[in-house]
């Protein structure tokens, strides 16, 4: 299985969910200046074809519901990169009534990039770090999600004020 | 052996006795009428069976022709005689159930006069006698058309009266012209001496006869009265008018042109084109006609034009086709008008709109109407088809390409409005099944049976058609019968 593991680490297709202000950092990463394609990472339009889900900013409850649905639409193995301090602990919206504080409670995050909107070089650094984690087989957020789905579902239900919540499948 | 003369005399006599019968009992009038027509029908059958072996000469008042009035019945006369009496008999049955406005006995008197006159026209051998019978049928027809005394009936009746009388006076002028030149009134005699007339008088006589009889035979300029009269008249009257009377007028015209005035090229061409124009004009004006009865009236005028066109061609095969077409026209029009009468009872007006879906309400009548119409259009394996095909074959034989095209165009137009009508009859959802009394359906059934029978075995009529055509074509034979050694 080494070949698959190696190819999974070398060819990553990324779908960035532009929620907050982080999205503006993506174009320089993709284009000539920093060129993430060198690492085999191309932006993909649909969750179906994506491997990485890049959450690029703070998450209101409303957007969180859509994020979870796109996450469920992706095929395994899938990785989530939390982008900027808002996903880590709510960042400057730490006491806002509307934003989600800790993304990790709702979808498994493999990698966080600190910084109140990190620069492209730290994004590239994150991608390189992710490649190593995949190669070593550490990036298994999707396994964690599948094993304790119940825990995630209760968290999600709590924040969506509904007693039982399923993403897409009725 | 029943002498055909009785078929004329008895109806005339009974007609005048009608008031007494109605005095006896109101209901008996219908049955008496039926009895007389039945007798006529019987006489017609007997003569029809004998006529093929040889023509029958009946002399009145004992004196030998050409001095006395004589009746001469060749295959042509026999065929038409049977046709008229048969159709009249069916109408009589149909009338048993029809409601007729008071006074009923006068209606039946006029009807009897009409049938007697028509029979007389086709049997007589004397020109003046022809005029007399033309007058009898004419006057009784004017009465019948206006019998309902409603606005449409009166209007139609008056128009028919005026045009009819103008026509018959012109015919009388023609007869007088001939009499002054030839000195005799017997058709065969005139035919024998026609060479004596100079060309102008011959043509003048022809013009008089053409216009005179054209009114009755519904040719183009003279047939303007037809739609109003047919629409206004009581439905059985329309039926008898369109089938019996128009054929009688046609017979008179043909007899005069072919036998009396010798069928010259100029005459026949005029007949041909007059017929063609009548056909086209009638079909075209029927296209946008919303009232079904008036539409069928136009179609019957058109068909008459077609028959005259066929006679106008003059060849032996053409005449046979024309006669066969005339027979089919009688059958189809009978079916159409009678079934329309039955439908008329179920709905108030006869407009196309309020007859929508009648075919589903009266399935049998609808089916019969469709068969009658389709036979007229020339659906194969119906009698109309064979006559139309033979007519077109004869047109092609005479290399008349333009008329062929026009006839085909006319039949396409005819197909359009008949199928539109049938389509309208059958649209709409299923209504309650309310079929009419069987006695009223019987005549229509008989006519449709004849259409189907002729459709599958047209050969039955072939000998009669051949004989009639031969009778028209060789005038000397006709003259020979009357003047020569034929014993009465």
């Amino acid at each position: 299985m080494g070949l698959f593991r190696w190819s999974q680490s070398r060819s990553l297709w990324m779908m960035h969910f532009c929620t907050g202000c982080g999205a503006v950092e993506m174009p320089p990463t993709m284009t000539s200046r920093y060129d993430m394609e060198r690492f085999g990472i191309i932006p993909m339009a649909t969750p179906r074809q994506a491997d990485i889900l890049l959450i690029t900013g703070y998450l209101t409850v409303k957007t969180l519901k859509r994020v979870v649905r796109s996450y469920e639409q992706m095929a395994d193995p899938k990785y989530v990169i939390g982008f900027g301090s808002c996903t880590i602990n709510g960042g400057m919206y730490w006491d806002s009534y509307n934003t989600v504080k800790q993304l990790d409670l709702y979808i498994p995050v493999d990698l966080y990039i600190a910084g109140c909107m990190p620069r492209p070089d730290s994004i590239i650094d994150a991608f390189v770090k992710l490649r190593e984690m995949i190669a070593k087989g550490e990036a298994n957020g999707w396994k964690r999600y599948r094993e304790n789905l119940e825990w995630y579902r209760t968290n999600q239900a709590k924040v969506f004020n509904v007693e039982k919540w399923s993403a897409i499948e009725p | 052996m029943v002498s055909p003369i009785l078929a004329i005399v008895i109806p005339l006599a009974i007609a005048f006795l009608m008031p007494f019968f109605s005095a006896l009992s109101r209901k008996s009038v219908k049955w008496v009428f039926l009895a007389v027509i039945a007798f006529n029908f019987y006489a017609a059958i007997m003569t029809f069976l004998r006529v093929l072996s040889g023509p029958i000469l009946v002399v009145t008042a004992g004196i030998k022709p050409p001095f006395a009035i004589n009746l001469l019945i060749g295959p042509l006369g026999g065929l038409l005689f049977l046709l008229f009496e048969g159709v009249a008999f069916l109408y009589a049955i149909f009338l048993l159930k029809a409601e007729i406005k008071e006074p009923v006995h006068r209606f039946f008197m006029l009807f009897l006069l009409n049938v007697a006159g028509a029979t007389g026209m086709i049997l007589t051998g004397d020109l003046f006698n022809l005029f007399v019978f033309l007058e009898i049928t004419g006057i009784s027809a004017y009465g019948l058309v206006g019998f309902k005394r409603d606005k449409k009936g009166l209007e139609g009746g008056v128009k028919y009266l005026i045009l009819g009388s103008v026509g018959s006076t012109l015919f009388l002028l023609g007869v007088a012209l001939l009499y002054s030149q030839v000195g005799t009134l017997n058709m065969a005699d005139i035919a024998g001496r026609i060479w004596m007339l100079k060309k102008p008088t011959l043509y003048a006589a022809f013009i008089m006869f053409l216009v005179g009889l054209g009114v009755e035979a519904e040719l183009f300029p003279m047939n303007a009265w037809v739609p109003d009269a047919y629409e206004g008249a009581h439905d059985t009257v329309t039926a008898i008018l369109s089938t019996v009377l128009s054929k009688a007028g046609l017979y008179a015209l043909i007899r005069v042109v072919f036998t009396v005035l010798s069928p010259q090229k100029a005459f026949l061409d005029l007949l041909l084109w007059a017929g063609l124009i009548t056909l086209l004009l009638a079909e075209l004006s029927a296209l946008r006609q919303k009232n079904v009865k008036r539409m069928i009236a136009y179609s019957s005028v058109g068909q008459m034009g077609l028959v005259v066109f066929a006679f106008g061609m003059g060849s032996l095969f053409a005449l046979q086709a024309a006669l066969f077409q005339a027979v089919n026209h009688v059958l189809s029009k009978g079916v159409l008008f009678l079934s329309l009468a039955i439908m008329g009872k179920k709905r108030e007006g006869l407009e196309l709109e309020n007859l929508r879906g009648i075919g589903r309400e009266l399935p049998v009548t609808g089916l019969l109407f469709s068969i009658g119409a389709l036979s007229l259009l020339g659906l194969p394996f119906l009698s109309g088809f064979w006559s139309k095909i033979s007519l077109l074959l004869s047109t092609a034989d005479l290399k008349l390409w333009v008329p062929l095209g026009l006839v085909l165009l006319a039949s396409i137009i005819e197909a359009f409005y008949y199928l539109r009508t049938i389509g309208v009859f059958y649209t709409g959802t299923d209504f309650r099944f309310r079929e009419t009394a069987f006695i009223r359906l019987l005549p229509v059934l008989v006519l449709v049976f004849v259409i189907l029978y002729l459709g599958f075995r047209p050969g039955v009529l072939a000998p009669y058609l051949k004989g009639a055509a031969k009778e028209l074509v060789d005038r000397s034979g006709y003259i020979g019968w009357v003047i020569g050694g034929l014993k009465p």
């Binding site: 698959f4 060198r38 085999g40 639409q73 095929a75 | -």
Partner: protein, 295 residues
Amino acid sequence: MVILEFFLVLIGITALGLLYGGIARKWSARIQRRYGPPFYQNFLDVFKLLGKKNTKSHGVMFALGPVIAFTGIILSLFFLPLGNSRPLLSFEGDIFVLFYLLVIAPLGMALGAGEAANPNATIGIARGLTLMLGYELIFFLSAIAVMVKFNTASLWKIVEIQGTFPKWNLFPFFLSAFAGLIALQGMMGEKPFDLIVAPHEIASGPMVEYNGKYLGLLQLYHAIAIVVETGLFVNVFLGGGSILTFILKTFFVFMLAVTIDNIMPRFRIGQAVKFYWKYPLIISLLGILVVFIWR
């Protein structure tokens, strides 16, 4: 033996296609002054996709779509001469058969994407089919000029007639070849005609619902399709020669298409079809006129 030879050809062509894809991405990156992925990146992509688990399917037809697409393109390999080596079934079908076989693959993909009931996919398919109305006709007209001149419909015979370099069809039929090139651009879905997969507008068109191994299969199909389509053009216009020259020629034609792809913006679908019915149509008709005058 024939089966072994066929498998060799199949794997070889697939590898070739993926290689072309990798080099094309490297070449486009270079044009945009960036390094771009390693040339074997396409291989990695395919392996990653085939290794995906928990792929989602919308039904039998959805799963069969890529399979039929793959079948169609494998089938056309049977009839495509590679350089001077006769194709396996050259006696069994000629260029018209090949034209109709090339239609099976888009049909398969369209049926699969249709089952996915995603409006993006259907709009992509509608665009693809409409575009086909444009380029197929032009390619046919340019090929028919050659066929009428040599009075043959067998692709193998056309290749034989051309022989070596100076006798290519490119020079006598220059107009038809030029029109053929424009049609090829549309056939391969390169910009300005990449309306089918327009990522910005309809999120990669018909492939929007495909994930995991289905997408891998479609990548393999796309790879072979590149070689087959350019191969068809090469056989008709750039003549025979050994397999190596065939590879070089197809590579060069493909690189030409990729360069144009990097420069041109994208047509609207209405414009694209109208464009095809204007200029390339006139050029190919002129090409045919030339054949008539020349004959």
